[in-house]
Structures are given as structure tokens and as C-alpha cells.
Symmetry: C2
Subunit: 110 residues, 2 copies
């Protein structure tokens, strides 16, 4: 079977792995956010805290919209950011070639 | 004791009553909102519902910012809107003079 490699240098298998990792990281991050919002909203003592919840959701929505960039040309940066923030581990990225792993690892330390 | 009447035709007593009513209405409306957000966030089955909560908070925050206009020149309109939406009753406005009550009542039906 021929391995299809896209113009950006990703194999179809790598793209598939990447999509799974992105989905998993997004789920982790949003579940954490839901738990945080639940905690805040269920322990409110002042109405001003409701607007803090709103501010948190506004910031996280903006953050998530930009961060989960699944374009092939951006995947290295997306993974580096998620690794830096602890939403994925380097182990989960196995299946990507060594050069990509090295780039993600290096970028995550910047 | 002399009754002080402001330029807009409100007595200091009416201003005091108005502020109490506005506070009470704001409390009712925000407590209702908190209960609604708690219900939604504690019964989530899909992450998309988190963004619905965010949309709700965005809309209500904008709505509340504009609606609780306590400038004397706007009080009639503020009360009419709160009456229309059911956050205050006409009975609670007793203490304001009859002409103001009549205006609030009429405007609330538009």
C-alpha cells in the first residue's frame, strides 16, 4: 500500500493520529473548563462572580477557537502549545515521525 | 421640613424609593439568571451547551447594563420596562406620585 503524503509532508496516518489527539485534548480541556464553571457557579456568594464566570468563558472560548488549529501547516505549533499547557503528552504523539516530534518538543519549551 | 424636588421633578423621597425598587428588581433578575445558569451547567450533556451558557450570559449582561438606567430622566422608562417584564409590580411603586405611576403603567403596555 502506498503511503500518501500531503504537500505539507504529513502522511494520511499522521493526519488521522493528529485528529484523534486534537479531539482528546479538546475534550480534556473543555471538561476541565466545565468543572471549573460548575464549581464557580455552584459556590457563588456575590452576583459579581457571575460576571467573572462570563469573563472566563469569553476568554476560554477565544483561546480555544484559536488554539485548536488543525491545518497541516499549523499542526506542529498546535501540538507544541498543547504540550506546553499540559493538555497532551509527548508519548501520545508517537506515530508521528521523529523530525516532527523533535520540532514539537523543542517549540513547547519556548 | 422642605421637600426637595430635583430638576427632573422627583422628590428626594421618590429617588430613595426608586433606588430601593431598582435594587430589588436587579436582585430578582440576577438571582433568576444564576438559577438558570446553574440548571444549564449542571445538566450539560454536550460541550456545545457550554457555549450556549456563554451566549446567554453575554446577552443578559448587555441587557442588564442598559436596562437598569437610574438617571432621573430615564426612571419612568426603566420602571415601565421592568413592569412589562414582570420584575416589579405596580404596587411596589406606591410612594411615587400619581402622574408618574400613570406614565409607568401606560408605557409598560406598549
Amino acid at each position: 500500500m502506498t503511503t500518501i503524503i500531503t504537500e505539507s509532508g504529513w502522511t494520511t496516518k499522521e493526519i488521522e493520529i493528529s485528529q484523534q489527539i486534537l479531539n482528546k485534548a479538546y475534550q480534556r480541556e473543555t471538561e476541565t473548563l466545565v468543572a471549573q464553571v460548575q464549581h464557580q457557579i455552584n459556590n457563588m456568594t456575590d452576583i459579581a462572580q457571575l460576571w467573572q464566570v462570563h469573563d472566563l468563558l469569553s476568554a476560554k472560548r477565544y483561546d480555544l477557537d484559536g488554539k485548536y488549529d488543525a491545518r497541516e501547516s499549523m499542526l506542529i505549533f498546535t501540538f507544541a502549545q498543547l504540550l506546553k499547557e499540559g493538555w497532551i503528552s509527548l508519548e501520545e504523539l508517537h506515530g508521528l515521525d521523529q523530525a516532527k516530534l523533535a520540532k514539537v518538543s523543542s517549540l513547547s519549551k519556548i
